[in-house]
């Protein structure tokens, strides 16, 4: 729920403001620059360095795993230690290394490749980065809370519940889950940013299909990210709920006998399968770019390559059950999934052939980037073929849960990593202006390639080893195919020892890279625009490293070739749009300097880390309190920051004033519950950490909203297919797209459980579980309330457009009141159901699905209300209505609010009538 506050807050609460804190970047040698920068190239570099740090972190864990496997049975790790390390290694490599490594390149290159000055929302881009970093820090912290997650990266239920997690690991597990949630917040913001940028900010004349292949691969990746991660977020929210409220009994959502375990696998793999392509797609883009350049030939069948990628991206959402062939799903659905799975391997096959055919008749130079990409294609071919084995269900029945799977996905994933390393060598001269050392690069390749195969090929031989086992002796000895000859009577040990040796070779080969890249920075191998022959895309047409503003003039492809138009001429027409962080005051709005720095992304993400840490140890009975106590603070912040930025008015006074009784009210309720002196004394330190985290978090959000952050939008850009939709509006819509999946996953889980339990007897079951009476009218009343409040938002927009201050403020306030009534009504209903009837969160599946799904909706309403408070304060001092352009902000908020309304239109029948 917290990251929801952030994403929403991030997307729509940042409106206008006036105080100006410089906006110019400090020099690169200054530490401050790296803390405040919002420049996409800086952020890209931060991403790359951070992800390499996590590579080392995950790599050290991998060494520990391989050492443990040197011999069968106990060696250097305990059982719990081994499980933790296997889990953290998987999570770190997939989430915190591979994807962000690719997004470092993407951050740096995509704007350059499409001819944009920066991303659409530079400040949110910085937020993405800092959230990413701090989410990883939180995962690191979890090791110091006793034990990190010991469940495997797939977090299968119900092993992921408190009932089955050893007490020592409970805190750390919760931190791990929250770290993932923070990571998703980062990813979602990033996806919104990239999608908006790529559709709306291309250089003139550059059609969508014309953008370079790396950028295309990133575009498809962010689409998959947007949808897939929302499903994982849903699963994690439900899981967090189980952790906090279902407690030791373990009968919440995923502990439910009504298919809770199966439900987790559905939700996880609906995310998980797209995720494996998410980590691989950027590498495909790198492969295409590098093969083109080093073969001196345009990609053969470029169009088909792109179509194949798009097909795979779409199809990736309908193959997830191939990870579940041995679960309780039925045969017809397995058959469908087998067909789609095999179907998805064919477009990949086409892509590989396109890459190979491009080399033919080329002028192939075997330089380091090319070597890495060639190696990556080899690994991918092996990984892909062994994947087809897994797609054949009968074979998968035996491979499932063995080292065959481990070897398969390491071949595919490492293929991605190796290609990205090739990409790093390829673009290193562009980013640094210096050439790396070619000899060392080649040595790195040879060591890595040999090391990798020595590490993973033996796993195919001893594939009968059960996964995540280190007592592997006694498993069947491998035979040579077609014969009954057993290899090495000694069993599995020697093969695992080979793998361990390979692991060290592979790992240490990266030291060569670190050394090479570092030393080359200080070499005299200075390069010009393009050190490579046959480069095509726009980043090679500017100096290395590119200038701060990316291009010497406004880039344009109007003539069919890249040219730079005179800035002065084209910039005259730059319009001021309310993009990220909004517009300066009306008076200044024609001053054309763009802002490039802000402290708030760092600050806000830091508070998110604090909050995450706090929640990890928050007890159920204290759970809501930090959030409630933060609300008065939020109201006061709006008053204070608003007065500072827009000049003091009575409304600001009223806001600050209202905070006091509000706090008193919450304090009173708290007193009735826990008793103020005793309750506070008993609260553990996590209560205080959460309180600090959420309060300062809301504070930074308000501050960010009031910060003036000016981003000029180019007028000449190519915007198909979103012409006429401003960047912020498109961003909002894209965000709603991911919210559809979030809610959809909640509703889908409900439908799944209900089908599993018997659809028509659902309420009978609920009655057996303690429900006596579940009236329809509170839901109906709330439907009226929400529809009406939607209507008043429409009115607010109309008034704002007409320039009426009173109308705007009144309509917004009425909406706020409507929302308050909605919550009040819901509160009364819940008290009746929960307390009077005793139908509690874990009173069976009907109860948990009802409370959680409508609860998520209520949380959305609360977030909307907080934003409304901000809007009212701003409207009161003249925003939105006094300047016609500005009214759009209300429209953006309206989109969110109407969406929340629409969701309710479905929740009402599903949870009240049917």
């Amino acid at each position: 729920m917290t990251e929801d506050v952030h994403t929403n807050g991030g997307t729509d609460s940042h409106e206008t403001g006036s105080q100006d804190d410089g906006g110019h970047l400090p020099p690169k040698s200054s530490v401050k620059r790296w803390l405040v920068t919002t420049n996409h190239k800086d952020v890209g570099i931060l991403y790359m360095i951070t992800s390499l740090f996590f590579l080392v972190f995950g790599g050290i864990l991998a060494f520990m795993i391989r050492m443990q496997l040197w011999q069968s049975g106990p060696f250097i790790l305990t059982d719990l230690g081994y499980n933790q390390i296997v889990t953290a290694h998987g999570l770190l490599m997939v989430f915190w290394f591979l994807s962000p490594f690719a997004f470092g390149l993407a951050n740096y290159l995509v704007p350059l490749q499409i001819g944009a000055d920066d991303l659409a929302f530079p400040r949110l881009n910085a937020v993405s980065y800092w959230l990413y970093l701090f989410s990883g820090v939180l995962l690191g912290i979890s090791f110091f809370q006793g034990s990190s997650l010991p469940t495997g990266w797939t977090l299968y239920a119900p092993l992921n519940l408190p009932a089955f997690i050893p007490p020592v690991a409970e805190l750390g597990s919760m931190s791990g889950i929250l770290a993932l949630a923070l990571f998703i917040a980062s990813v979602t913001i990033g996806s919104v940013n990239f999608i908006t940028t790529m559709y709306r900010m291309r250089a003139e004349g550059l059609r969508m299909r014309d953008i370079p292949l790396f950028s295309i691969s990133i575009l498809l990746t962010v689409w998959m990210m947007l949808f897939a991660f929302a499903a994982l977020l849903a699963a994690l929210m439900l899981l967090s709920f189980d952790h906090v409220f279902a407690g030791e009994v373990g009968t919440g959502y995923f502990g439910s006998e009504e298919g809770g375990s199966l439900l987790w696998t559905h939700l996880f793999w609906f995310f998980g399968h797209p995720e494996v392509y998410i980590v691989f797609f950027p590498a495909l883009g790198v492969m295409a770019e590098v093969v083109q350049t080093f073969s001196g030939r345009r990609l053969v069948g470029r169009k088909w390559f792109i179509i194949a990628m798009a097909l795979v991206a779409i199809q990736s959402f309908i193959v997830w059950m191939h990870h579940m062939f041995l679960t309780a799903i039925n045969l017809p659905i397995k058959t469908v999934i087998m067909v789609t799975t095999i179907g998805i391997s064919l477009p990949f096959d086409l892509m590989v052939f396109a890459l190979i055919y491009t080399m033919i008749k080329g002028q192939v130079r075997w330089k380091t980037p090319f070597l890495f990409v060639l190696g990556a294609i080899v690994l991918f071919i092996i990984g892909g073929i062994t994947g087809v084995f897994l797609g054949a269900i009968v074979l998968d029945y035996s491979f499932r849960g063995t080292y065959w799977v481990v070897a398969h996905f390491h071949y595919t994933m490492a293929s991605g990593a190796v290609a990205l390393v090739g990409g790093i060598y390829y673009w290193y001269p562009k980013i640094t202006g210096k050439m790396y050392n070619e000899f060392l690069g080649k040595v790195h390749f040879v060591a890595a390639f040999v090391g990798f195969n020595l590490l993973y090929f033996p796993m195919f031989v001893v594939w009968d080893t059960p996964r995540r086992w280190f007592h592997y002796s006694g498993t069947v000895a491998p035979e040579i195919p077609f014969t009954n000859i057993t290899l090495f009577e000694t069993g599995f040990t020697i093969w695992h020892q080979m793998a361990t040796v390979g692991a060290f070779l592979f790992g240490f080969s990266f030291l060569i890279m670190f050394y090479n890249l570092f030393v080359s920075l200080y070499s005299d191998r200075v390069v010009d625009e393009s050190p490579w022959a046959y480069t095509g895309s726009a980043e090679w047409a500017v100096s290395s490293p590119p200038p701060e503003g990316n291009f010497p003039g406004t880039p344009s492809f109007a003539t069919g070739k890249l040219s730079f138009l005179d800035r002065a001429e084209t910039d005259g027409g730059t319009e001021t749009a309310a993009t990220d962080g909004g517009v300066a005051h009306a008076a200044q709005s024609h001053e054309q300097h763009a802002d490039h720095t802000s402290w708030w992304p760092l600050g806000m993400s830091l508070t998110a880390l604090i909050l995450g840490l706090g929640i990890s140890g928050l007890e159920a009975s204290y759970f809501v309190w930090p959030f409630l106590f933060a609300i008065p603070a939020f109201v006061a912040f709006i008053g204070i920051f608003g007065a500072r930025s827009d000049g003091y008015t009575h409304l600001h006074g009223a806001f600050v004033g209202a905070a006091v009784p509000l706090l008193a009210l919450f304090a009173l309720v708290f007193h009735l519950h826990h008793g103020i002196p005793g309750g506070l004394a008993e609260a553990n330190q996590y209560f205080w950490i959460s309180l600090i985290g959420i309060t300062s978090g809301l504070g930074t959000l308000v501050a960010m909203g009031y910060e003036s952050f000016h981003v000029p939008t180019p007028t000449m850009s190519e915007q198909w297919p979103f012409e006429g939709v401003s960047n912020t509006k498109l961003g909002m819509w894209v965000f709603i797209g991911s919210d559809i999946i979030l809610f959809g996953a909640f509703i889908g889980s409900y439908i799944f459980m209900r089908i599993r339990a018997n659809w028509t007897q659902w309420w009978d079951i609920a009655h057996n579980n303690g429900l006596t009476h579940h009236p329809v009218w509170p839901g109906l009343l709330n439907t009226y309330l929400l529809l009406a409040s939607s209507f008043t938002v429409v009115l607010a927009l109309a008034y704002a457009k007409r320039g009426s201050r009173r109308g705007t403020v009144t309509a917004l306030s009425v909406t706020f009141v409507g929302a308050t009534l909605f919550l009040l009504n819901k509160g009364i209903e819940w008290v009746d159901l929960y307390i009077h009837q005793g139908w509690q969160f874990d009173s069976g599946p009907a109860a948990s699905t009802f409370y959680l799904t409508t609860g998520l909706h209520a949380a959305h309403v609360v977030v909307g209300m907080l934003i409304m408070l901000f809007l009212v304060a701003r409207a009161y001092t003249g925003a939105y209505w006094s300047d016609g352009e500005d009214a759009q902000t209300i429209e953006y908020f309206g989109l969110y609010w109407h969406f929340v309304d629409i969701v309710w239109l479905f929740l009402f029948p599903l949870f009240y009538i049917l």
Partner: protein, 276 residues
């Protein structure tokens, strides 16, 4: 999509090819060999082809220090290829190259589909036995942290109620004891977290999920003591979670089984019908 699944699974089920009478071990071994052979062949071919071409069309002349690349040459007319040019729109005059691409695509599609249809028919055979087996020894397997409990469905004989003191057999008392040559039908579930029950020697494997039952079967063809492993991370004891599976000659089995409390001849009817 769903339609396809239902049609395929019901249509092929009655195809003659589905009537193979094989154990899971045979099915797996033969299919695995086919996949390994073809997979290796294709893999080696494609990789060789790629590396060969990358080598054949290599271009020397780059600066040895690696600082500069080769000079771009204008090869227009030499080959029917288009070279990337800086700042171009890449979709311009590119030659499609589509035909060759689709040839190889079609070829591999044909191969893969063939393989899959073949493997699917075997799957149906495997599933059929698992669902429509009347002459089978039915056993309910319940996973727990960290071991397996068995219940012989016919008599209700359970782990803990029996011991495995058989001459010449070294196995724990919580072992599964079965007769050689019979189809053993397993109904698998779990009492706590998710496990996965698998006997690698007999290629039987299925998830053990709390609240759900899944099925698998095997037909042991040799006597001896084998292992049933857990293939799904299930907690701290996962790495060491395995139990014994004892396969006895039918007569020995009969003797052992009838020596346990509460069992009777009638539970063993499945063995009679077989020998006729």
């Amino acid at each position: 999509m769903l339609g396809t699944g239902i049609t395929l699974s019901s249509a092929l089920r009655h195809a003659p090819v589905a009537q193979v009478d094989q154990t899971q071990v045979n099915v797996f071994d033969s299919l695995y060999d086919v996949f390994v052979a073809l997979g290796t062949l294709i893999g080696v071919l494609v990789i060789t082809y790629m590396v060969y071409n990358a080598y054949k069309y290599r271009s020397g002349g780059a600066d040895a220090e690696g600082r500069y690349d080769i000079e771009e040459e204008d090869l227009e007319g030499d080959y029917d290829v288009s070279r990337p040019q800086r700042g171009e729109i890449p979709t311009g005059k590119g030659k499609g190259g589509g035909k060759k691409l689709f040839m190889s695509f079609g070829l591999s599609a044909f191969l893969v589909l063939g393989l899959i249809i073949y493997s699917y028919s075997l799957l149906l055979a495997v599933e059929d036995t698992s669902q429509n087996q009347e002459d089978a020894l039915e056993i309910e397997v319940t996973g727990y942290q960290f071991g397996w409990d068995y219940e012989y469905t016919g008599s209700g004989l359970e782990s803990g109620d029996y011991d495995v003191n058989i001459d010449g057999v070294e196995a724990d008392d919580d072992a599964l004891v079965v007769p050689r040559g019979e189809v053993i039908q397993l109904n698998v579930t779990s009492r706590d977290v998710m496990h996965n029950y698998g006997i690698p020697e007999f290629r039987a494997k299925t998830d053990a999920m709390p609240g759900d039952y899944t099925q698998t079967w095997f037909q042991p063809e040799k006597t001896g003591v084998y292992r049933a492993n857990c293939y799904e991370l299930c907690g701290q004891g996962h790495s060491n979670m395995h139990g014994d599976v004892v396969v006895l000659e039918p007569d020995e089995f009969r003797q052992w089984y009838l020596a346990q409390d509460g069992t009777s001849e009638s539970d063993l009817e499945f063995m009679e019908s077989d020998s006729q």
